[in-house]
Symmetry: C2
Subunit: 457 residues, 2 copies
């Protein structure tokens, strides 16, 4: 019996047109990563659950896709495990899961290869990850992450290079109107100390992380609910509303955080990264030093980044930050680094919304050979051979079919040129090259056609 | 507590050096696929088990990796299911699995998108697949497949183009000494008819598929065990030992198969594909028409292909063939096509064995900037900015460290050039460019360095 096939919820196929667009984004990012000395790494889709579990909090553990042991998966389970429910049975029947992000597998890789790796180690990784989240618009169960990390150095050159890479990637993609928000976890620590809420950094961060979504009033309410005193909450207001140029904000914070070592360290890091950027001759006009930027992940300990594209419905499209302990959880402590992740699905959506994909990126085959009969099809094969030997992406319509059908194939496949061959063309050697966009036609020899197509590339 | 992290059995990490080599192989294949008008498709790792199950035989179903339903996966199961064992419990707790090959997901994609697709549809797909096989040397549980298929045409031009693509890919990779074995399923059908074993085609194929591994004697034994009569087995011997040029073999078969319609059709297909190849001006010297080629997969119905590299321990590295019903199992019948799959893991191993990876493919960063002190590091940043603006992959050692350590980093990362900057270089603007391979050093301005590096590309 045949059934109508379906896709699992929250997953997608990427057909040729979407692949062309996605590859345009991936290529831009890869090219920049490699220009900055990052090298590719790929890890398996499957990881042992012992590697994944406990790294993403309780909620994260729930969202891991678990893989049933192969063979008789019940061989280690007894009926008591079953009666105790899913949680008790799980470890008896599944020891592997699909990776949830690229950071934990990267940490595992670093630990397993620590004797061979030369530090600092700069890697990038572009691979799918899986989360059993409730699917919704823009949120998928299988999606790509696109990460670059440097580990094994505290140098603030790395932070500056992240800003440079962001600028280069977005400019390659044609996205002009964006901001790079930066902040520093120790500035946030300093602020909690300065307002008299020392030790409450995590509650403070979780609250202000929602500023864009719920507004200042509700953020202040949440702070109080999370045990930050009304006085401290009151004191936070002017800091969260800090305005002015980067220099003005830094000057103000230097005063506000004058009694906090953490705060001073945070400010000096930001200043050094900005100075380094100037050494690269990059102006700071896209940088928005924003003390309300908190970033969700708890493992950040230094500078944090977020990119927002303006005038689109989608907010943050990329983010990252510095951490001081990537691999401690696997028994190798003190390895610090800084990483950044491009949100490719969101960048794709932004580019669709702003209509930024260049037409050239979407053309596939350059030439389709169209033929009137068997003899011209045969002649077309030798023409095709010449085009391909010249490196021109080309194909012949493989069946004898109505001319209209063959043209339609070229249209649907977004092929830019056709060469139409009939008995006249076979005897004269002069072929009709048609530009499918302009409709213009020319009679040329195959050598002239090759020359023309190569010179317009 | 921290634990030593491990990789699941049969899976691999691909570090920077391996990635560079793999990407060299993938790029060559992609480039050829696209030159021939194939367009990329990607499908999810996860498929519904309703799509996967029953497509690969009983053994295949056993080798599928199944994914536990998320949340309380036992909510649809009762203790009777548990007591009945894994098979009974499975459908209650898992509805998704990891894809086992690229063909079934491709068929699903075609069926789900049949109203939008323009036929013939030429797609390529390079993605990992998963099989719960017992891992052993050269056999992994997660590995890449690299497929190209044309569906919606019976044209034998497609068969010819497969031969052309194989030639181009292997020549790009530098693999010279290989054979493209071809045969035709209907020739095999014809042979079974001719020897008096009509209807036993599948047993015949399974047996002769092992000719390379177990030799003729054992193949004949197996035929008999599978119910092919001793007389038929006897008659098969001279056919399986057929020698001579392609033309001689075809002539002999025309006689042997003169009473078999299937056999005649098979021979005429092979002849037409070979004639088409000549129209492309390709000589046939790599083609080995081999009547003992059977290919395991039962869904092939026309021409079949296999590539063998000579003088290496690995046998077949790629294969494919024509089928007449890709999508019938999903309720869309009559869609024929032809496909080919490059075995990238084996090609990789062959290239390692023959030492064929070009050095250029393995270089990463082109230039590392090495510095003596803080001032020269700062100066190095502006040099780095200039190199990158010129499109040169480059990096600076991000920490102040001993010169030896910085050189060591360049060595380990296979970086071809270093620029060493000290106080003298900062004041004169003349920088020392060192070729890390030859050891040669030159004093040049940054503009001269850029010019030199760009002109040697």
């Amino acid at each position: 019996m045949s059934q109508k096939p379906t896709l699992p919820k929250g997953t997608r196929d990427f057909g040729p047109q979407q692949m062309a667009k996605r590859n345009f984004v991936f290529s831009a990012i890869k090219e920049v990563f490699e220009k900055y000395g990052f090298m590719p790494l790929e890890t398996p889709a499957m990881e042992n659950l012992s590697v994944l579990t406990g790294k993403y909090g309780d909620e994260g553990d729930q969202l891991l896709f678990k893989i049933l042991n192969s063979g008789d998966f019940l061989s280690n389970a007894d009926v008591n495990d079953f009666n105790e429910g899913s949680r008790a049975l799980l470890p008896k029947i599944a020891e592997k899961g699909l990776k949830y992000d690229l950071t934990v597998p990267f940490a595992r890789y670093v630990v397993m290869n620590r004797h061979e790796l030369t530090l600092p180690f700069k890697r990038y990784q572009i691979q799918p990850v899986w989360r059993a989240d409730r699917p919704q618009k823009g949120r998928y169960r299988e999606f790509f992450q696109c990460d670059a990390d440097v580990v094994g150095t505290d140098s603030l050159i790395c932070e500056a290079e992240i800003v440079l890479m962001i600028n280069e990637v977005f400019s390659k993609l044609g996205i002009d109107d964006f901001n790079i928000k930066i902040n520093h976890r120790q500035i946030l620590t300093g602020i909690t100390e300065a307002i008299g809420a020392g030790g409450k950094e995590s509650d403070f961060c979780v609250s202000i992380d929602k500023l864009d979504k719920i507004g200042l009033e509700k953020v202040l309410e949440e702070m109080k609910e999370r045990g930050i005193s009304p006085e401290a909450t009151e004191k936070a207001v002017p800091i969260l509303q800090l305005q002015g140029s980067i220099e003005e904000k830094i000057a103000a914070l230097k005063d506000i955080l004058k009694n906090s070592d953490a705060g001073q360290k945070g400010i000096s890091d930001i200043e050094e990264a900005l100075t380094t950027l100037k050494s690269f001759d990059l102006s700071n006009h896209r940088i928005d030093f924003d003390v309300t930027l908190a970033r969700g992940l708890s493992y950040y300990t230094g500078a944090i980044f977020e990119v927002k594209v303006k005038n689109v419905s989608i907010g943050s499209v990329s983010g990252g930050g510095r951490y001081d302990d990537l691999t401690g959880v696997f028994g190798m402590s003190g390895l610090s680094g800084v990483g950044f992740s491009f949100g490719v699905d969101r960048i794709y959506d932004v580019m669709e919304e702003l209509n930024l994909f260049p037409k050239e990126a979407l053309t596939s085959t350059e030439v389709l050979i169209i033929h009137f009969d068997e003899a011209s099809m045969k002649y077309g094969l030798s023409v095709l051979g010449k085009l391909r030997r010249a490196g021109i992406k080309s194909e012949i319509y493989p069946d004898q079919a109505k001319i209209k059908k063959q043209f339609n194939y070229a249209d649907k496949k977004n092929i830019q040129h056709t060469i139409v061959i009939g008995s006249e063309e076979v005897s004269s050697g002069k072929l009709t090259l048609r530009n499918m966009v302009s409709g213009q036609e020319e009679k040329l020899t195959i050598e002239e056609i090759i020359h023309k197509l190569q010179s317009t590339k």
